[in-house]
């Protein structure tokens, strides 16, 4: 479990805000601002944070679906940010993504079979007969009838479409899959089915997941480790159990207190988040969380807390622990 598959260092993605006659850049939305973490081979790393905190941007910058502003992404010892377009296209076989919206992520004009064969065609893998056989096997493996290959996406429900999206990600035998809120758009009952499927597939194919969610309860069971993001920055990262039992960052504590507790014996005080989420175009000085933090101190306004490992495997960025 300790072999590293992916190392993200100092990743930044700034979206320019343009104004004026010459469309000059007057500022930036710092969607991802200096993020560092590693993902071990075969594990599931959960990334959690409120809407707009930069989770999708992180996921997509890692895969270079959008070009990161700066930073390095080491995947299987190759620096993705420095790779040429063609070698990157080749390497894409090994890293895939599943999107949040099962309706928008499948082209409505093609039959499912064609959608699933396309990745193999692009990379010139297998013969046509092998491809269609593989499509059927994968559909079946993802809990769908092989005849689904002859239907169009609109003939399926959201959960079924998400299974198709997962099957598509598997066609190229990837080692890493970024799951960008794969269950957020689904009914709760369907959510757990999809999560179970993902867990089975991980076992079977030895996959590594980067599982993005906006809700801690979703990633709780599937994740080995969990990272908490706030306004484009990392707040805390620890093993799941550790994070739930011993949250260090005040933001994590607030998020945890919002999760309903199944055991009525355990009383937990709900920590309400004060104020609104600040705009990532104009983030607060110092610690980005200080405008809403119950423990904020003077230093929090002035200085940005450093990201450091306070216990083995437990990282946090907060002045309370420096």
């Amino acid at each position: 479990m300790t072999e590293t598959l992916l190392t993200v260092s100092n990743l930044k993605k700034y979206f320019p805000i343009r104004k004026g006659v010459l469309r000059r850049t007057v500022g930036y939305v710092k969607a991802v601002d200096d993020v560092n973490f590693t993902v071990h081979k075969g594990e599931t790393l959960g990334i959690v944070g409120e809407s707009g905190c930069g989770k999708s941007t992180t996921g997509r910058s890692i895969l270079r679906l959008i070009e990161p502003t700066s930073g390095d992404v080491l995947f299987q010892d190759k620096n993705l940010t420095k790779l040429s377009k063609s070698s990157l296209r080749h390497l894409r076989q090994k890293m895939q993504i599943v999107f949040q919206d099962p309706y928008a992520s499948l082209n409505p004009r093609y039959k499912v079979g064609k959608i699933l064969e396309r990745p193999m065609q692009i990379h010139g893998l297998y013969t046509p007969a092998e491809r269609s056989k593989r499509v059927r096997t994968l559909l079946e493996r993802c809990g769908l009838d092989p005849s689904a290959a002859n239907k169009y996406p609109h003939e399926f429900s959201g959960g079924q479409r998400q299974r198709i999206g997962i099957a598509r990600a598997l066609t190229l035998n990837p080692s890493l899959i970024v799951l960008d809120e794969p269950v957020s758009a689904l009914d709760v009952s369907v959510q757990s089915q999809i999560i179970n499927l993902l867990e089975d597939l991980q076992q079977e194919f030895g996959l590594t997941y980067l599982f993005i969610a906006h809700d801690l309860s979703v990633v709780r069971h599937i994740s080995d480790r969990i990272a908490v993001m706030y306004l484009g920055q990392m707040a805390e990262l620890a093993e799941s159990l550790e994070l739930f039992d011993n949250p260090l960052h005040p933001y994590t504590q607030a998020l945890l207190s919002a999760i309903p507790v199944p055991d009525p014996e355990v009383k937990r005080e709900r920590i309400l988040l004060r104020g609104d989420l600040p705009s990532p175009a104009n983030p607060p000085s110092g610690c980005p969380f200080h405008t809403r933090c119950k423990d904020a101190m003077d230093v929090c306004k002035a200085k940005k807390p450093v990201w450091k490992e306070v216990k083995p495997g437990h990282h946090v960025a907060c002045h309370l622990y420096s």
């Binding site: 997509r60 895969l63 679906l65 296209r89 080749h90 894409r92 076989q93 890293m95 895939q96 993504i97 999107f99 949040q100 919206d101 928008a104 992520s105 499948l106 082209n107 004009r109 396309r118 990745p119 692009i122 990379h123 999206g165 598509r168 190229l172």
Partner: protein
């Protein structure tokens, strides 16, 4: 699209029921989108006329008939022999109108294709790649839209020397801007969709994505616009020929027929009415078809 609604039921042994049902659906379609049907019929008739002009016409459109003029040398009015009368040189107007349909369609269609090709290429590049490429292309498009279109086309045809080919080249070369805009906006909306991102993450190249994922979604507005553009082009060709820069006599075009008949509007009004009404009906046909297709295929534009 709506062909789902037009599909007959699948229950076996219900042949006659399916048939009546199909008839019923067709009727419903005719009632709902009459412009598609009427416009489509007009266009169809025009295409047939253009294709079979030599078969339908009884006379040579270029040759003066031996009895084509009255004793006084005037054109003959419509009669049993010459359905639409004869012109000032004693040629059969009906035959000339039929062959004029050929020229109109040829110019309308090929000019439309040229515009489509240029517009699609620029619109796709502009929309998909964005950035400064987009900015440059869009400024050029604005510029072309600000051109006094007719004058430019006339000037270009005059410079190239008038002929059918040069007419459709000139119309096509200046007519792509609207097409480029439509396609660009379509590409812009498609490109952000997750399935395009998915294709990218699967390692597809930019042009592969454009051809496989983006372009199929552009087909509908292109068809709608092409129908409208052909109607416009037919009108332009007529205007050019009317001004003397299009099809050159003695070859017939509706525009130059009207021009030739202009001096005789009292004596022989059919010289103007025959090509004029043909032109009007043809343009109405293409406009109806285009508007109707928009109502039918493009749900975004409300009715």
């Amino acid at each position: 699209m709506n062909n789902v609604a037009l599909e007959p039921s699948l229950s076996p042994g219900a042949g006659s029921v399916t048939q009546t049902k199909r008839k019923f659906e067709l009727l419903k379609f005719v009632k709902r989108y009459p412009s598609v049907v009427i416009g489509g019929l007009i266009v169809l008739v025009m295409v047939i006329i253009a294709l079979f002009a030599p078969v339908i016409a009884h006379y040579d459109p270029l040759k003066p008939m031996p009895d084509g003029l009255t004793q006084l040398g005037a054109p003959r009015p419509p009669s049993h022999e010459y359905i639409l009368g004869t012109d000032t040189q004693g040629r059969d107007v009906f035959s000339r109108v039929l062959f004029g349909a050929r020229v109109s369609l040829e110019v309308g269609f090929f000019a439309g294709l040229i515009s489509l090709f240029i517009g699609a290429l620029l619109g796709v590049i502009s929309g998909y790649f964005g950035g400064w490429v987009d900015m440059v292309i869009m400024r050029i498009t604005d510029m072309v839209l600000a051109f006094p279109f007719l004058l430019f086309v006339v000037a270009l045809v005059a410079a190239l020397s008038p002929s059918v080919h040069n007419v459709f080249i000139a119309i096509g070369v200046f007519g792509w801007a609207q097409m480029a805009r439509i396609i660009r906006s379509q590409v812009l909306s498609v490109k952000e969709l997750e399935y395009v991102q998915a294709a990218k993450s699967l390692g597809a190249s930019a042009w592969n994505i454009i051809f496989v994922e983006v372009l199929p979604n552009v087909v509908t507005p292109v068809i709608i616009y092409l129908a409208l553009a052909i109607g416009q082009n037919i009108m332009l060709e007529a205007a050019l020929s009317f001004l003397g820069f299009g099809v050159q006599p003695p070859n017939p075009s509706w525009g130059n027929m009207i021009q030739e008949g202009m001096g005789y509007y009292q004596l022989a009004p059919w010289l103007i009415y025959a090509p004029g009404i043909s032109l009007l009906v043809a343009t109405i046909g293409f406009n109806l078809l285009g508007d109707g297709l928009r109502d039918w295929l493009d749900p975004k534009v409300g009715k």
